[in-house]
Symmetry: C2
Subunit: 242 residues, 2 copies
DNA sequence: CGGATGTTTGAAAATAGTCAACCGAGGTGG
DNA sequence: CCACCTCGGTTGACTATTTTCAAACATCCG
């Protein structure tokens, strides 16, 4: 188990570090690590869970389902993202989370969340910040799905995921190990699989990106931003995590 | 100006009340009230604002725009809902908010938000709760826009707004004064105005609801829930507000 | 009596979904 | 070793949904 003092997330430039006291609290809060295999659920909608999780490594995605099997992917979660806050507050889990690759999670029992609020104003603020950020991202996705056309949406999601991965140092020579399938993309964008595929093909031919063998590389982000009508996330200096 | 001690929101059964100390803080926090005319903006995307607002009366809606004018309504805000938290945390406003009717707002300068986090763990928790609830609602909307068909979406939005209004005691004989236009609905659901209208017509003929002269009445919520594939919000006992 | 809004409708055009098939890369078991 | 799966990706033809365009209509208001 990774000791908090040497938590890999703390080393990433885009994440804010803890004070000594905060680090001590987090350290005492963490009860262990949990590993989830690719394809398994980390959290299931409507099933209570007593923990919060921070992703230490791997990819996951949050989604909601309709009874008949249709599902909407709400967002993807990468290293440093917090999972399960929703459930800790709403009392019940409002969406599922599935591992896209093998995932290692830092386990934080939610019972002590209230304690954190009593002791550390800064960290409490961070938790709220994370919730607000999630809301923000959902808003961007909703804007996409509600208003953008097919090419725009596809360009948007590629830019988003690629950009977030870059902030986490996940690129090697501009190439990103990309575990997302076209089926995932279609459930994210609200398109059928076939239509997603055809849109990807046409966009690919413009030379804006390469995607094969599970690796994604954006070759012309400028062009993609034009297509998407989207100007990337503001390069928010440092973000918190737990 | 309404004194906090007699704040109308506190009298609504579905809102949790303050402790004496909390009330005193909120009272000292509130610097006044702001009235916004129907059709005016309360907050504008990317324009900073130094306040948080709680809606004391009226309807508003949050939305994001694309450069070419398309807009996506993210959610509606009613009495007791908090506006501007996003901006207070993200540093910049990530969406606009427009008044749908004349709106009266309770003004809370965001400069003191950090102070609240230091002094009142309970209220800080509430703020986070509100952010998480907003995230939750956005998730439900995203599921709708991404996966539900036209009839389903329309049924969903009617149920949602009607249900939220009921919790706030806004119904008279089952009738709700409904300031939303079909144009708003279409920007919420991601449909063109024409298509929204036609879908409404067909749904109306099933006798599930009446909507005319700015009043909405749901006659068969059971049927609408069936159509929407949606089972309403869990009747969460008491929710916080600021 | 105009304007300005908001709603309603029909018809044509564009977009997206469904069905059906095929390809290629792993993996597994006989 | 190869037959046979499964999974993810790809494609064409056809169908359905949704948008766009255009025109009315009704109400409110100055």
């Amino acid at each position: 188990m990774t000791p908090c003092a040497r938590c890999p997330i703390r080393r990433l430039a885009s994440f804010r570090d803890f004070t000594t006291e905060e680090l001590a609290f987090i350290k005492s809060w963490k009860t262990g690590e949990r590993t989830v295999r690719a394809g398994e659920c980390i959290l299931r909608e409507n099933e209570p869970d007593d923990n919060l999780y921070t992703i230490l490594s791997g990819w996951a995605f949050k989604f909601k389902s309709l009874e008949d099997g249709r599902r909407q992917i709400l967002n993807y979660a990468l290293v440093g993202d917090l999972i399960g806050l929703q459930g800790s507050l709403a009392g019940t889990t409002t969406h599922s989370v599935e591992a896209l690759t093998d995932v290692v999670l830092c386990v934080l029992p939610r019972a002590r969340l209230m304690e954190l609020f009593g002791l550390f104003a800064g960290l409490s603020f961070d938790v709220t910040w994370l919730a607000a950020r999630e809301e923000w991202m959902l808003g961007e996705y909703l804007l996409s799905v509600g208003q953008r056309g097919a090419r725009e949406r596809v360009a948007f999601i590629l830019l988003d995921l690629y950009g977030r991965a870059r902030k986490r140092n996940m690129l090697r020579d501009g190439r990103l190990a990309f575990p997302v399938t076209q089926s995932h993309l279609s459930d994210t964008l609200g398109f059928s699989l076939v239509h997603t595929n055809k849109t990807l093909q046409r966009l690919r031919q413009s030379g804006a990106f390469k995607w094969s063998d599970g690796f994604l590389q954006l070759l012309d982000e400028e062009q993609l931003r034009d297509v998407a009508n989207w100007s990337s996330w503001p390069s928010a200096l440092e973000r918190p995590f737990l």
